[in-house]
Subunit: 197 residues, 2 copies
């Protein structure tokens, strides 16, 4: 089995160059954790005490509305981070639930360790600045898509942007992510496959 930290550093090195000393320093702030499929990583109402790097597997974060419908906020797979930011930063009760779509391995970073790491390793401050900066650009695009595209356009765009991950997700989760009903995705698929026999 590959060392989970190899996966972490491989992703960090894409944005900043860490020395071996930095890496050894940083490792101490993380705590590995395994999650089985369907297991919660966070439940609404709890405080989100850490952000999680996904070394392996796939998780989702979502909001339950008053009718019990799931509205997916984010999928996180290898190389992505996941948390309820608002709760993590401000210590407020989480509005989101998070759970594992597949068996997963996480690296947990507590708020204390996050703050300490950023203070002690300036390159990590930079890493997160760049990470967040890029995430903002992504979310901008998603927001515009949510507000301006039809169901069919949204689904096609999702498949185009996330061709690999879409294969690991059941359709009803993609539907929830796009703000559509599972039935609508089913009908769109049928329509598309009819167009190209």
């Amino acid at each position: 089995m590959e060392n989970v930290f190899d996966i972490l550093f491989a992703h960090i090195q894409k944005k900043v160059s860490l020395t071996v000393e930095d890496q050894q320093h940083i490792m101490r702030f993380f705590k590995p954790k395994k999650l089985r499929r369907r297991q919660y990583a966070l439940q609404q109402g709890e405080v989100c005490t850490h952000i999680s790097f996904v070394a392996q597997g796939l998780l989702k974060s979502y909001m339950l509305d008053e009718k019990g419908n799931e509205h997916i906020n984010l999928f996180a797979w290898e190389g992505w981070w996941i948390s309820d930011f608002e709760s993590f930063i401000f210590g407020s009760p989480a509005k989101l639930d998070m759970d594992a779509v597949e068996d997963s391995t996480l690296l947990l970073l507590s708020k204390d360790n996050y703050d300490r790491m950023l203070a002690e390793v300036p390159l990590m401050e930079r890493y997160f600045r760049i990470l967040y900066q890029n995430s903002l650009a992504t979310k901008d695009r998603r927001l515009i898509s949510a507000n301006s595209h039809t169901a069919e356009e949204k689904y096609a765009l999702f498949l185009e942007v996330y061709p690999v991950i879409s294969q690991r997700l059941p359709q009803h989760l993609i539907a929830s992510y796009l703000g559509l009903s599972a039935e609508t995705i089913s009908r769109i698929k049928k329509k598309i496959s009819a167009q190209r026999p």
Copy 2:
């Protein structure tokens, strides 16, 4: 007239504590610019060469679809930053347009100066990390709202979250921001005012 930099530093100080030396250092990276109402700050296809701090006034960034409809991505008023991130970071052609809703005063920060400032003033790296982090939490909420709320809920939420700014915006811009037609907002307003005579 108040110094535009006073406004900038007042906002930065909410997140990090700058020394007077830092402030004098930082000032040199910015260039003030005034925009009249309706004037473009950026046009689609150009490269977004700088991010802008809004010292005074109000701007919007938006995307034009193939039918010429405006889909507003962001409003930026005193204390906010505005740019086409993707274009700014990667030097790609901007997908967004930006223009002034009111006469405005900006502080421009070019890509070179941005990079240099972040390298030379670690506290600014921290400032932007925190700024982006908070923006992500905001966008998360907006995305969930876009995908799960009715038109009426979205409008009510907007008024609740941005009571002051909503007064400075024509309704059709709020509609565009929420992914709704101007007519829908008009009808919602009528309905609400009928409920409380």
